[in-house]
């Protein structure tokens, strides 16, 4: 391990502790711990959203995907950008106008039942743990590759560092670490992009021509179909990624850290510009890695292509750039994992502990204690699972979390806001069927079963043919909401209806003033 890497990692760790120290002074109440007091500006939240959403798989995975699969890298990239249009058009403002600390608050603003809150909270925690597993497994594999640190030590190091600033700095520290990470990530990518394009004399067309000659796929490298053969699988994957973001609890919670719907909307715009700029550079960096590093070397370092970006950095800027890219990856993982932990812990402390077990009467001190305990517990569970899932496909874990979110949370969120007849039974049925339906389809699908030994967990023919079940599980979630609603509306005792209130608040933000000072 070279000295630059040690210095860079130490700098990132010190920076997060410094941010935590200042944030801890402002984190005195449960509200400030959960959502940073709801006082972030659009630019701050846009950057924090970028820091929250653009994970190591975005940075390392996408550059790797373009470097090895050429055109097919797009299928993993563009749905992420478009998914924020779904959030912008359908979710961001109503969520800000109706929610307070958690997704459970938003859903129960319409159905004030403990069952609904409980299912939403458990759903949030399950999705968060699945998403976190993907990040921790990636962290372990990445630092083993980048620095030679053993997998188990890497997972523990990331988990404990992240936990330190979550425990003391809450959402304020998490937001600032995410903002700084987004600046580092985009800044680092710009530097890498300029250095890479300098090698091609800034002739962008020649990047394509030269990349084609440097890969065994030749002409086909620039055509669709190297990795994805079936359009049905491609559409299913795209659908899961397009709709999944709008159901991811840790992304949705970011809209509760701003004062109103207008700021929520503007923060999405900030994110989309940052992400669009980042995506353009990623395409060229991937192709540049093909030419300047070489497909063989990239695969030799990691068959999934995750080492393409660090290897490209080494070719372009030597040990210093390699260390810088490694440090950015470290900051990236820390920021994403922290966002996930705080979301899961808030769902436990606010929804399960305060609202359900204590009937909303827990003191600030009790809630602060419980959210910290929950942060430790969620991190510990994710670390333990990560240690056993070392050989699991990281992309699969993240995609599964996205599909779970799209199938269980999104239908309920949309119907709560937009369908008058939707009721409690529909909400609970939709969430449970979406959650367990997706898990079942994955368990009977090609990720678990393959006729070829070693390609999946079990040997055998998969009952469900698609690796990404979104095309079935997402409509299933919506259908379950519908059927549950029909059954619920048949009951003798009518469920209370406050849809007028929800509609006005969601569409006008009439009540959001009351949430500003939470």
């Amino acid at each position: 391990m070279n000295i630059s890497i040690i210095i860079m990692f130490a700098a990132i760790t010190l920076m997060t502790l410094f941010v935590t120290y200042y944030a801890s002074k402002k984190t005195k109440t449960a509200g400030s711990f959960y959502t940073a007091g709801g006082g972030l500006t659009a630019r701050q939240n846009g950057l924090a959203l970028a820091g929250d959403f653009m994970s190591a798989s975005t940075f390392l995975g996408l550059i790797g995907a373009f470097s090895l699969n050429g055109y097919d890298g797009f299928f993993l990239m563009y749905p992420a950008l478009i998914s924020f249009l779904v959030i912008l058009f359908l979710v961001a403002e109503p969520l800000r106008n109706l929610g307070k600390y958690t997704l459970g608050d938003m859903i129960t603003s319409r159905y004030r039942y403990k069952q609904v809150r409980g299912v939403t909270a458990v759903n949030t925690i399950v999705i968060s743990i699945f998403y976190m597993l993907g990040q921790l497994v990636a962290a372990g594999a990445l630092f083993k590759l980048l620095l030679g640190i053993p997998y188990n030590v890497s997972v523990l190091f990331v988990g404990i560092t992240m936990l330190l600033f979550v425990l003391f700095g809450g959402m304020t520290a998490t937001s600032w670490v995410q903002i700084i990470k987004a600046i580092l990530l985009i800044g680092g990518t710009v530097v890498l992009f300029i250095l890479a394009m300098f090698q091609f004399n800034f002739n962008f067309l020649s990047v394509f021509t030269e990349a084609k000659t440097a890969t065994p796929f030749g002409e086909n490298f620039l055509n669709p179909g190297i990795k994805y053969k079936s359009s049905l699988d491609g559409i299913s994957l795209t659908l899961g990624l397009l709709l999944g973001t709008a159901g991811l609890p840790h992304v949705l919670v970011r809209f509760l850290t701003v004062p109103d719907g207008k700021t929520a909307r503007k923060s999405v715009v900030w994110l989309m510009w940052l992400m669009g700029l980042f995506h353009v550079m990623v395409i060229f960096l991937g192709l540049a890695a093909t030419k300047l590093v070489g497909t063989g070397k990239i695969i030799e370092a990691n068959p999934a292509g995750n080492m393409a970006a660090p290897l490209l950095a080494q070719v372009l800027g030597g040990g210093f750039m390699f260390a810088f890219v490694s440090a950015v990856s470290f900051a990236t993982i820390l920021a994403v994992v922290a966002g996930i932990v705080i979301t899961g812990a808030t769902a436990f402390s606010h929804d399960l502990y305060n609202e359900i077990f204590k009937n909303g009467k827990a003191t600030e001190k009790q809630q602060m204690f419980m959210v910290r305990i929950a942060s430790i517990a969620i991190t510990a569970i994710a670390i333990v699972f990560s240690l056993f899932l070392q050989q699991f496909n990281v992309a699969f874990l993240s995609t599964l979390a996205m599909t779970l979110a799209a199938s269980s949370n999104l239908p309920v969120i949309l119907m709560t806001i937009y369908w008058r007849k939707f009721n409690k039974t529909g909400a609970i049925t939709g969430m449970l069927v979406g959650l367990f339906g997706t898990i079942l389809l994955v368990v009977i699908g090609p990720n678990f079963w393959s006729p070829v030994e070693g390609q999946a967990l079990f040997v055998g023919k998969p009952i469900f043919p698609l690796a990404s079940p979104g095309i079935v599980s997402i409509p299933l979630g919506f259908l379950a909401c519908y059927i549950g609603t029909i059954i619920g509306n048949r009951k003798v005792v009518k469920q209370p209806d406050n849809y007028d209130e929800i509609l006005v608040k969601a569409q006008t933000g009439s009540d959001v003033g009351g949430v500003v000072n939470h």
Binding site: L81, F89, V504
Partner: protein
């Protein structure tokens, strides 16, 4: 189960009107929903949201179909750049354009919402 529902229902706060902010402003939500101004705004919002959502969803989902099941996008335009690349890269400007249209329209809806609430303050 039914009894549980009933009990929770009784415990619910009033659903007719709710306090607004610290200023204690209250709204009669039922009458806002019934007002023509609110109905008109909701209708406009629905038409706008649904039409654009259908557009960008179809635009996105069409790419894997056209790219993986047809040869329509294989033709080259400049150098090695085919229509498939142009379509895929166009997702970025398309997002920016749709996003800008939304921002403009949202400002209009904000003004409408403000008028509706001002007219309905109790």
């Amino acid at each position: 189960m039914i009894q549980t529902d009933e009990k929770v229902f009784v415990e619910q706060p009033s659903i007719k009107s709710t306090e607004y902010s610290e200023n204690k402003t209250t709204f009669d939500y039922s009458s806002i929903v019934k007002s023509d101004h609110f109905k008109k705004m909701c209708k406009e919002k629905t038409v706008f949201t649904v039409s654009y959502t259908i557009f960008y969803m179809l635009y996105s989902l069409l790419l894997p179909y056209l790219a993986l099941s047809t040869n329509l996008l294989n033709g080259k335009i400049i150098g090695e750049i085919s229509w498939a690349w142009i379509y895929a890269i166009s997702m970025i400007p398309m997002s920016f354009i749709v996003c800008s249209i939304y921002l403009k329209k949202a400002d209009y809806f904000d003004k409408e919402a403000k008028k509706i609430l001002e007219n309905q303050e109790v």
